[in-house]
Subunit: 658 residues, 2 copies
């Protein structure tokens, strides 16, 4: 793939700005930021993620405008602009965000690869957005068209500031990618309007309020970074700290039960919780707020320890899209909304920058390869809103957004353009640098450039990861006489690795990991080669015994990938009777023909033959186990991200062992 346009990498700061951004990424750092690490520039040039991003660029993104047209989103903008007549279309007050997220995705795509066709579409839709804006800056087609212009009367469910947030995020991306001011001007005008309306009692502002769905908060921090206007940062801080004080009735769903600073676990609607936490991390980074940082660290740990599925998926309940109790991690009813996986990546990345700790990128890796990527089909045309870890034999599906079958688009179409924007901006989450060196968080064939107080350092990477564990790095750019540290994240799942620097090889005892980082400090020279070899033997994983849903089960994993059984690969019966033999060895077979090329894991097991026990499925625990073991069979597991790309049928991540 071509190199990014220099305009995108070094778009000039706006006149009058004191901005000190270090990358094109969606997370920059403001001038006074207290981050441990700064985002570093990266390019994905080949390999696993390059393929996924090609599908995103060639299939998913170009289809966006037609889908937004047929779903009515663009029609609503024209309607609000007075350009056409008709009725508002769509079922939700936040349908504008589908447009904004697509614009953000397309902008990140343009930042790395010019495309006249895409650029034309972007500018056409930017104009629709600009035309729909009201003179004082307000913009929300639902409230303009359906609610007769009534504003901010239903902050709990209205999503007005949420929509504003996605507009601002899109505008920042559009400005960073193209340097053009049009959408940024719309966003600033709206942000200025919001700033004129919302504030603490006594501030002279009309409304002391927050939006039931956080999003504007991260967006305002980014707008601050893009424009240098500190009042956007202050407005974000105001919003973040007003959650938890009952302004929305005190509901956990809306993040209003308890302030983040006092919370001891994640709760309520998962995406709302995670967007709010991302904003808190941004604020802690920009302001050095130690209490917000501590809250983020505490809540992240509570989430990963007790409320995260093996896939990185988040959210246990269908009915409020929310977190459940600790260790309440169901399989078939796992909600694991695709947007929650995306929000988790966004929050963890901010925590990684803030703290410099590798575990945040461990979770990002797990989420990207599993809970996130399952959200889009291999052909880029069908989507999952929820991402269960089990689909039973004979599953009957209600259809709709909460289906466990892939769908072309949703009534609530938040996930597809959210996937598009994360895939299009993936390089923003791969590497960081600090004054001491460059840190590689995620491995992909590409090019990574850090900044040591103005001195560039760069390495290129070649790897077949995640199918193979070898990662070859070549120093491309380095100061001649200044040692620096190349830090390689050794993933949390990795029990064994070797690293070769030039002719010297070390194992994990000679070159131990400290807090997840393998730190190689050298006076590097261009052309220096490092090969990190992560052992990729497939493994069986068990859960904390408090995870009731998977008692007596194991999951198959290999590298960062969680595996699953699908019915189509395991004929001769259903999946619900399968038992895995945990003492038999696991075999690995790469299948270039299958699902775009995947490495399968082959295990041994059998099907349980369960005798008809009459009409009641419960019996004395002392009686013989009902049924007998069938003959040994081979069990073929595929990576979880690739499930639901063939015919419908059962699927299981967790497999009974007896």
């Amino acid at each position: 793939m071509p190199r990014p346009r220099s305009a995108a990498l070094s778009s000039p700061a706006p006149a009058g700005s004191d901005q000190a951004g270090t990358s094109t990424g969606p997370v920059r750092l403001g001038p006074g930021a207290k981050a441990a690490l700064a985002p570093a520039a990266a390019e994905v040039r080949a390999g696993f993620w390059s393929t996924r991003r090609e599908v995103n660029a060639r299939i998913s993104l170009p289809q966006g405008p037609d889908l937004l047209e047929s779903a009515g989103n663009l029609h609503n903008l024209r309607l609000a602009a007075g350009a056409v007549e008709g009725e508002f279309r769509g079922a939700y007050p936040f349908v504008d965000t589908d447009v904004y997220k697509w614009l953000e995705a397309a902008s990140w795509q343009l930042a790395k690869e010019p495309s006249g066709g895409l650029e034309t579409e972007v500018e056409r839709i930017v104009s629709l957005v600009a035309d729909a804006q009201q003179p004082d800056g307000y913009l929300n087609t639902w409230f303009q068209l359906v609610k007769g212009g009534e504003r901010y009367k239903d902050l709990r469910w209205g999503h007005e500031l949420y929509c504003a947030g996605h507009l601002i995020q899109a505008a920042v991306a559009h400005h960073r990618a193209t340097g053009r001011p049009q959408l940024l001007d719309v966003a600033r005008k709206f942000a200025d309007h919001i700033d004129s309306v919302f504030g603490l009692p006594g501030s002279g502002k009309e409304i002391d309020g927050i939006d039931g769905h956080p999003e504007v908060e991260t967006a305002l921090v980014e707008l601050y970074r893009e424009t240098g206007k500190r009042r956007y940062l202050e407005l974000a801080g105001y919003f973040v700290d007003r959650f938890g004080h009952g302004l929305l009735g005190g509901e956990a769903y809306c993040q209003d039960r308890v302030p983040l600073r006092e919370a001891d676990t994640v709760e309520g609607h998962a995406v709302r919780q995670l967007y709010l936490l991302a904003a808190a991390a941004d604020l802690a980074t920009e302001t050095g707020d130690a209490e917000l940082r501590a809250a983020g660290e505490r809540l992240w740990r509570a989430m990963t320890t007790t409320k995260t599925h093996l896939t990185g998926g988040l959210g246990a309940h269908h009915d409020e899209e929310d977190f459940g109790d600790p260790y309440e991690l169901p399989n078939e009813r796992a909600y694991c909304e695709t947007c929650a996986a995306i929000a988790s990546v966004q929050w963890s990345w901010r925590m990684a920058l803030l703290t410099g700790e590798a575990r945040y990128s461990d979770l990002i890796e797990r989420t990207l390869y599993n809970g996130f990527l399952a959200g889009v089909s291999l052909d880029g045309e069908r989507w999952l809103y929820v991402n269960p870890l089990q689909v039973r034999d004979g599953h009957t599906d209600p259809g709709g957004d909460q289906s466990a079958r892939r769908t072309r688009w949703f009534r609530c179409a938040c996930c597809p353009p959210n996937v598009m924007r994360l895939l299009a901006s993936l390089e923003h989450y791969l590497a960081t640098s600090d004054t001491g060196g460059l840190q590689i968080h995620q491995y992909t064939t590409g090019h990574y450039t850090g900044d040591l107080d103005g001195t560039p350092v760069a390495v290129s990477v070649e790897t077949e990861y995640p199918w193979q564990g070898a990662i070859s790095l070549t120093v491309e750019e380095t100061p001649a006489d200044r040692p620096w540290t190349l830090s390689l994240r050794v993933p949390q799942w990795c029990a064994e690795y070797r690293v070769r620097c030039g002719d010297t090889e070390y194992d994990q005892h000679d070159a131990p990991v400290a807090d997840g980082w393998l730190r190689l400090e050298r006076a590097w020279a261009p052309g220096d080669r490092i090969v990190l070899e992560l052992a990729l033997a497939p493994r069986l994983t068990a859960a904390d015994p408090r995870v009731d849903a998977v008692r007596g089960c194991v999951a198959i994993e290999r590298g960062p990938l969680v595996y699953c059984l699908e019915q189509v690969d395991n004929p001769g019966g259903g999946l619900d009777d399968i038992v895995l033999n945990r003492t038999a060895p696991l075999a690995v077979r790469h299948r270039p023909d299958l699902l775009g090329g995947v490495t399968t894991v082959v295990a041994s097991g059998h099907r349980r033959r369960i005798a008809d026990a009459g009409w009641w499925p419960y019996a004395s625990a002392d009686s013989e186990a009902p049924g007998t073991d069938g003959p040994p069979i081979e069990l073929t597991a595929i990576p979880y991200y690739a499930w639901a790309n063939r015919q419908d049928g059962g699927m299981r991540v967790w497999l009974p062992t007896s």
Copy 2:
């Protein structure tokens, strides 16, 4: 308790009727019924259920009018009658049914025990209902007041016929109990109106349609039985057979995906499914429709085999209150709506009458003692809408109707008056007779009267069941020279029993059970004594291995009772770390002081001490089990029905064994 008033037991058939009812029960038989068994009269005079019914009669029922007043239901009736001015109150189109179900409950209560105060309240509220009826018979306060009189435009969600159904059921109960015509006249007028509007295309009726929530169907069959007017039966048959043909968009939720005659499992909203199936059983009984009977038998088996919780609770999902996939039987997210348990009893009873088979009453017993009875607090003042089988340590509850904590009343208050009407009419589900004898389905201290072609037979029963297994029966009334069969249901859970007839004792080998019935054929004489002794040793129960939610767990049961651990009885730590020692013996301790007097079961176990495993709760299945076993502890289990009557805390039915 006093005997029922003779007026209730033998209310005369209306003039011109060909009715041949055999009891005061909510299920009678029409003149051409093809039932195997006829309902028999029963009285509950003392013991377990008598206590629960006393609380219902003295506490729950008398509080009804005040609750209906403060929730606005009675206000809405006055408003519809034009007697007052104001706004409709309540959030749902079906709030009238809370009134109707209370009237039905109060009528059954009056049928067994006169009460001037209750009667005055009943007649006052009957008048409110009558006054709210429109001249052509239509009655629904939501549509009259909120929808400007629009009718039958939203059959999917409007609940108009559902409301009509509960009105009709209440009217039938009121008429059978008091002999007064006023409410029955209201119901007939509404039923005639419905009959004039709904029918097949080509019938000349305005609408070919069904209501999204079945209920009017059983009610119309009962109205046929009460009035002898066959067109009510025909209208019920029309409605039942129009489900599954897409009139409501084909949704499983509304029972519209597939006709019952073709269905192979229960699906969709559990209460809707069960009410529809009860109507199908009524129709099969009245018309001899073999296909509907076969569908009922098939679907009942599919339900009990794959979609029923150990407690008899039904409905796996919170978000559509619906059945899940086969063997999808979660614990903490079990929905198990109290109304679904009630609907299950109603359906199973109709199947018991239709087929004569004991297994239907096995499920009734299990449901009554567990999934149903948990729905009301011991003091009769607080309710559960959902009935989970697990509440975790530190459970955070969203509150509202779906709370796992007892609530004084609900926004959607369907369950409390539904509990009241089942408790008030419980004697209708206890016994049957046929030309060959009397069948006792449920055991309680009381009096049972059957009818052998006009010849009465009666037995009295004394028992401390379910705390003790001895059931003493005395023949009270019998023809002198005609042998008949006393059939005693030996519950499905019972592995060992003895029976003594006079001086002769038999064990289960000498007097074996056939299809659940112990049949004793004799030429009985008044005063003959029979003692059935059911062995009540506590037992550990395991589930079919396809029930993923309880893999590696057992439940404690004793007799018909499912047991659970509650935090308050098991201090020294939470419940989520408890492991039961399945090889240790179980002890029984009767505790007259506890929870109104319960027999507890004491088991052995330990708490698992789980070491802090860092931030990720998943690890290699080969590693040491995380944590060690704590010292042995005594585990005290209480009957599930009595949970949530003390302080909040964890609760578990299914207990890990390793």
